[in-house]
């Protein structure tokens, strides 16, 4: 009985244990399923979140790419704009500077033009002194307009056939009649800045006609200054030029010519012009000039002067020094200037037509002031070039430092021939070699 009861109990216990185990297993399984479902739910949610995050990331990345491109485009635009701005500002700066210089040029032009017009008006009322003063007052402005002084331009007005005389520390330059009067005279203390003095020969001798007083040259004999020049002698058929002389006690004049007839005239040769005096190392006084030729060629002559310089020396006759013999001379030579230097005589002259760009300067060597001379210029030593056209009518002189200078007149290129201006130039001249060499300005 006890045994059977025990068995039942055991069996019941086993069944209960089995049931309990199964129940626990089922419960555990249900819990596992529940956790698994929850995990799946969480996983799904996480995946949705991930997908959404990825989408957001892609969108944001795309937006960032767009923004970056936009930024890059803007930066490129900024760079391009800054480049344009720099270029524009640079151009603006250059243009402003140019405009400023133009403004200066306009002021300078107006100043120069004002002086020229004032001088013109004074000429119109026959006030040559004021005309010279007016034109002198704007010389600097007009010189600036004429451009670089590297060409040697020092006086930017009509100043043909110049002759330079140094008296102490002052230089006087004389020229053919123009604004300044019958014989123009300007002066300078430094050979750079020149101012008009006025009319060196206010009154012409009775035999001379006005408006044709050419090629002056001045020499100092003691306390007297002698001005040689050419003037029209109307009594000769053809109104030939003849040579005369005037005197003054000061280099700036006024020079007085009280002659009743020309000093030298060669009617058969169509007149005499371009006088040029020389005092040689022996104290002899000579005059060189040009005859216009007549039936023959233009010729350069020389004759000794009397000690006073007012007449030719007694018992002398003109000696022919030179006639044209080179092609560049175009059959015409004139404006002699005989220079004694280093024991030799050099005859400077101008060749070809004065109103053309073919005009130039040549030289000949001479045994003495009365020749004989030999032309030494197969080509001119000074001719048209940069900034000058048709240079000639030269005057050779020594400055206060002992340097040799050459003064000449020349046209502005493109403005050749009357009534344009033959302006006044100065350059250095080297006479140390066999052939004179025209050097730089200054």
């Amino acid at each position: 009985m006890v045994k059977r009861h025990w068995r039942a109990v055991v069996t019941t216990l086993v069944l209960l244990m089995a049931l309990g185990t199964l129940a626990v297993a089922i419960q555990t399984d249900v819990g596992a399923h529940a956790r698994d479902r929850q995990e799946h739910t969480d996983l799904s949610a996480a995946r949705r979140t991930l997908a959404a995050s990825r989408l957001t990331l892609e969108k944001t990345t795309y937006v960032k790419a767009l923004a970056t491109n936009h930024r890059n485009d803007l930066q490129a635009s900024v760079t391009a704009t800054l480049g344009q701005l720099a270029t524009t500002e640079n151009t603006l700066s250059t243009t402003d500077a140019f405009a400023f210089l133009q403004g200066v040029s306009i002021n300078t032009l107006q100043t120069c033009l004002g002086g020229i017009r004032a001088s013109y008006q004074q000429i119109g009322v026959h006030n040559n002194a004021q005309a010279a003063s007016d034109i002198s007052s704007v010389s600097s402005a007009c010189l600036t307009l004429a451009g670089s002084t590297s060409t040697g331009l020092v006086y930017p007005f009509d100043f043909p056939d110049p002759d330079v005389l140094r008296v102490g520390g002052t230089y006087f330059a004389y020229a053919t009649n123009s604004v300044g009067g019958n014989i123009q005279i300007i002066q300078s203390g430094d050979l750079t800045h020149w101012s008009a003095v006025g009319n060196a020969l206010p009154t012409l001798p009775s035999w001379a006609a006005p408006n044709g007083t050419w090629s002056p040259a001045v020499v100092q004999l003691g306390g007297t200054f002698l001005l040689y020049y050419a003037a029209i002698e109307p009594s000769f058929e053809g109104n030939y030029e003849c040579i005369s002389v005037a005197t003054a006690t000061r280099p700036q004049g006024p020079f007085i010519d009280s002659s009743t007839a020309p000093m030298e005239c060669q009617p058969a040769l169509d007149g005499s012009i371009d006088p040029s005096p020389l005092v040689d190392s022996g104290g002899g006084l000579f005059l060189e000039w040009k005859s216009n030729g007549g039936a023959g060629p233009t010729t350069i002559w020389s004759e000794q002067l009397a000690a006073s310089g007012l007449t030719m020396a007694p018992n002398t006759t003109p000696v022919q020094l030179l006639a044209p013999d080179e092609g560049w001379q175009g059959g015409m030579i004139e404006a002699p200037d005989l220079v004694e230097t280093g024991g030799r005589y050099l005859l400077f002259y101008s060749g070809n037509y004065w109103g053309s760009s073919n005009y130039g300067e040549g030289f000949a060597t001479c045994a003495g002031p009365l020749g004989p001379c030999t032309d030494a210029s197969a080509q001119p030593i000074l001719s048209s070039g940069t900034g000058v056209s048709g240079p000639g009518g030269a005057s050779i002189f020594t400055d206060s430092s002992g340097s040799t200078r050459i003064a000449f007149a020349a046209w502005t290129p493109g403005q050749v021939g009357y009534p344009h201006s033959r302006e006044f130039y100065l350059r250095r001249l080297n006479l140390s070699g066999g052939s004179p060499v025209v050097g730089s300005a200054g």
Binding site: T11, V14, L15, A18, L19, T21, L22, A25, T28, D29, H33, R35, D36, E39, H40, L43, A46, R47, T49, L50, S53, R54, L57, T60, K64, A67, T68, H70, R71, T81, L82, L85, T88, L92, D96, F98, A99, Q102, G103, S105, I106, L109, Q110, C112, L113, I116, R117, Y120, I123, G124, I135, D158, S178, V179, N211, Q415, Y418, P419, H420, S421
Partner: protein, 170 residues
């Protein structure tokens, strides 16, 4: 094992008794069957649980990976958003600078146009003045040698330029 031995023992005891063998065996068989059912169910449940746990582990692993990935993506997103904000600031500043530069350029171009216009005007004035000056200078040269007809001709030839220069300068 213990349950099996118990069942065998009960069956043996029943077979040795005469007259009541069928009635004494039936509970044991039922018990055994029940136990087998229990064991089977338990096995199924256990297998299911194991499978469920395996799935859970896989799901959990996937969830971990997804969450890690999400964190990375969110980190990337945060970085991109930060960069985007920076780019937007740059866009704003660059746009502002461009507007200023464009305005400066327009001003400079306007000034340049004015300056060029001035230069053009002044060039005309200079040309007129130079022409006028040349003519007056020629007239001066002509008049100084009493060549009045040449002087008048020279002035007439430049009168329009002189008038133009005067008009241009008020």
């Amino acid at each position: 094992m213990a349950l099996g031995a118990l069942v065998v023992e009960q069956v043996g005891e029943v077979d040795d008794d005469s007259g009541r063998p069928r009635r004494r065996r039936w509970p044991g068989i039922v018990l055994i069957a029940v136990l087998v059912l229990f064991a089977t169910a338990l096995g199924i449940v256990s297998t299911n649980e194991v499978h469920t746990n395996t799935q859970f582990d896989q799901t959990h692993s996937s969830l971990d990976a997804t969450q890690a990935h999400t964190r990375i993506v969110l980190s990337d997103l945060n970085t991109v958003r930060h960069e985007l904000a920076g780019v937007n600031v740059q866009v704003f500043l660059t746009d502002k600078a461009l507007a200023q530069d464009a305005a400066d350029l327009q001003t400079a171009q306007s000034e340049l146009a004015n300056a060029r216009s001035d230069v053009s005007h002044q060039t005309t004035v200079i040309t007129d003045l130079q022409t006028c000056l040349g003519g007056v200078q020629e007239a001066l040269n002509a008049l100084s040698v009493a060549d009045q007809s040449r002087a008048i001709g020279a002035l007439n030839s430049v009168s329009s330029s002189c008038n133009g220069a005067v008009a241009a300068n008020g």
